[in-house]
Symmetry: C2
Subunit: 166 residues, 2 copies
C-alpha cells in the first residue's frame, strides 16, 4: 500500500509518498514540494499543480490520497486561495479514481506523536523517527504532507485490525 | 467572438455563452447550470464540474472566459467551498489555453445597467433586454453567468475602440 499525502497551497504544495515494509513499518518513498512563482497568473499555477500531482499519481500509483482538513479562522482570502489549490488536487485524485481521506490536524498529531497538541518540531521529529530517516524531511510543507500520509497508514492499519477482529 | 461566462459553486455552477452579431449586438448562444447533488462526495462533484466545463469549451470553442471576482465577507467555509469549484474552472480554462477575465460585481452592474448598485431584478431585466430575449435566463446562476459574459463583451469592445483610436 502506497499513500500520497498532500499539503495544498498555491505557492507551495507539499507531497509525501509513504508505504509499509514487510514488518508493517512506514517507509518514505519520496517527498517534496510543487512550487509556483507569485507573479504567475493563478490559472497557470493551478495548471502546474494539477499536472505535477497527476504525474506523481501516474508514476507511483498510490492506493489512496490523504489530506488535512482545513480550518482558517477568519482569513477568507487564504481560504479562497487554498480552496482553489485544494479543488485541483481533489480533482486529480478523482480523475484517477483514488479514495481521499481527510484528517483534522489534531488527528494527525494524535496518530504520530500520541497527543493532539504536539508542536511542529515534535511532529517533524516523530516523522523522522517513525520513518527511520537520518533527517527531517524538508521543507516544512513536504514534512506536513508526509505526516498526513503516515496518519492514514496508521488509521488504515487500525481499521484492518478492527475488521480482522470482527 | 464567443465568451463563456461562469458563476462557480459546488452545488450549482452557472454558465452562459454569449457572442456578438454582425451589428455588434450581444446574442445568447446557450446558458444553463451544472448541478451536483449535496450527498455526493466533493471530489466527484468537482470531477463533474470539470468534465462539463471542459465539454462546453470543446463544443463551443469560446475565445475567453469571464468570471466574477469573489468577495465573501467573513464566511470562510463558503470561501473554501467556492474556491474549490473556482480552482477547477480556472484549471479547465488554462488547460484549453483560454484567457480568463475577472470582473468585480460592481463592474458587471456598471457595464449592464449603467450603475454599480443595480439590484438582481434590474440586472436580470437588462440581460433580457441587451440579448433581445423573450424571458430572463433561468435559473439565477445562469443569468449571473450570462451577465459577466456580456460585461466582458462590452469591455472587449471598448478596448478595441481605444486601440483603434490610438
Amino acid at each position: 500500500m502506497i499513500i500520497l499525502g498532500i499539503d495544498p497551497g498555491t505557492a507551495t504544495t507539499g507531497y509525501g509518498l509513504v508505504t509499509e515494509d514487510e514488518a508493517g513499518e512506514a517507509r518514505l518513498v519520496r517527498c517534496g514540494v510543487i512550487t509556483t512563482a507569485p507573479g504567475v497568473p493563478m490559472p497557470e499555477r493551478l495548471l502546474a499543480i494539477h499536472r505535477e500531482l497527476t504525474a506523481l499519481i501516474r508514476d507511483y500509483a498510490p492506493d489512496a490520497v490523504a489530506v488535512e482538513s482545513l480550518f482558517f479562522g477568519r482569513n477568507v482570502t487564504t481560504a479562497l486561495t487554498v480552496g482553489q489549490a485544494r479543488g485541483v488536487l481533489l480533482l486529480a485524485a478523482a480523475q484517477a479514481s483514488l479514495p481521499i481521506y481527510e484528517y483534522k490536524p489534531a488527528e494527525v498529531k494524535q496518530a504520530l506523536a500520541g497527543y493532539g497538541a504536539a508542536d511542529k518540531r515534535q511532529m517533524q521529529e516523530m516523522v523522522r523517527i517513525l520513518l527511520d530517516l537520518d533527517d527531517i524531511p524538508r521543507p516544512d510543507d513536504a514534512a506536513d504532507a508526509v505526516a498526513v500520509a503516515v496518519c492514514h497508514l496508521h488509521s488504515a492499519r487500525l481499521q484492518r485490525l478492527i475488521d480482522g477482529a470482527g
